[in-house]
């Protein structure tokens, strides 16, 4: 179960802000609960982020279901490569996912690496 206390949210928000400041090509970084609620967000003025975050929780859940059907274990990360951008979704733990977004289609490797790194950092900081 996700803790709702402010300290918990502040720790995560700080990590998200570090992520987007260290990797400026990342347009948006969000932490979402498994059931689709935004827990922390690197920006506060993006109106569609709640809907996109909920969609992210559905997508990674579907990916988990698909990989389980294939006996491949749990989905490690989910990448959508799009005409004008990239989205990466990674499990932080069973309750939380991180979603990162960039418009720089050439930055897939960096996006994936940096998102994985911060997913691990957040996991460590909340344990």
């Amino acid at each position: 179960m996700i803790s709702n206390n402010k300290t918990f949210t502040k720790i995560i928000e700080k990590q998200l802000l570090n992520l987007v400041s260290n990797f400026p090509f990342i347009e948006e970084a969000v932490i979402v609960s498994s059931d689709g609620y935004v827990v922390a967000n690197s920006k506060t003025n993006n109106k569609c982020i709640e809907k996109v975050s909920t969609m992210g929780s559905s997508m990674i859940s579907l990916a988990d279901t698909m990989t389980a059907e294939l006996k491949m274990g749990r989905c490690v990360n989910l990448i959508t490569e799009n005409e004008s951008g990239l989205v990466v979704i990674i499990h932080i733990n069973s309750d939380l996912k991180i979603i990162t977004v960039t418009r720089k289609v050439s930055q897939l490797g960096m996006l994936l690496t940096s998102t994985k790194k911060y997913a691990a950092k957040i996991r460590e900081s909340i344990n």
């Binding site: 059931d35 689709g36 809907k51 909920t54 859940s61 579907l62």
Partner: protein, 172 residues
């Protein structure tokens, strides 16, 4: 045929599909942060199959209940032959719940609908109250069967599916 189960959180959609499916149900469940009385909640879809004959099956899809997952409602409704709205009779305003799903699914339902009333401990007593739901449907110009259902009982769920299938066949 593709049938879609929808309705509020805790109305028994996942349970109903699990009860009658002939295959292991594909589920996308997460621990809920808002409905603490539930162990898991559907975040994308449930999928099961009921095999009617060798070459004939019902594909049973379940939607998430929460409005924030409404994009899944649209995705899952495409190509559906019929809809089952489950209403938890124990909720504070079950008619409001029914309204939400009727309004959001009305463009897909095409009058191919049955309504299952769940969490009814006394099936005889509830029979009188079913009229309330039937009358409510008339406001939307829907003439659908309204039946009490225990989502854990296969015979109840199959009765719902039969009612829906019959209503579709009557229109053909």
């Amino acid at each position: 045929m593709k049938f879609v189960f929808t309705g509020c959180v805790g109305s028994g959609k996942t349970e109903a599909i699990k009860t009658v499916s002939d295959i292991p149900v594909i589920s996308t469940e997460a621990i809920p942060t808002d409905y603490l009385s539930k162990k898991t909640t559907t975040v994308a879809l449930d999928y099961g199959e009921l095999h009617l004959s060798k070459n004939n099956k019902l594909e049973l899809y379940g939607t998430p209940g929460q409005r924030r997952f409404s994009y899944m409602w649209e995705i899952l409704s495409k190509g559906a032959s019929g809809f089952i709205i489950l209403v938890n009779h124990q909720r504070e305003n079950p008619l409001d719940d029914l309204d939400m799903y009727l309004e959001n699914f009305s463009k897909y339902i095409n009058n191919n609908l049955v309504v299952g009333i769940t969490h009814t401990e006394d099936v005889i007593r509830i029979t009188k109250e079913l009229t309330m739901y039937s009358e409510h449907l008339k406001k939307y110009n829907f003439s659908a069967a309204v039946l009490p259902v225990d989502a854990r009982r296969a015979c109840n769920v199959i009765t719902l599916l039969q009612a829906l299938t019959l209503s579709i066949e009557e229109k053909l």
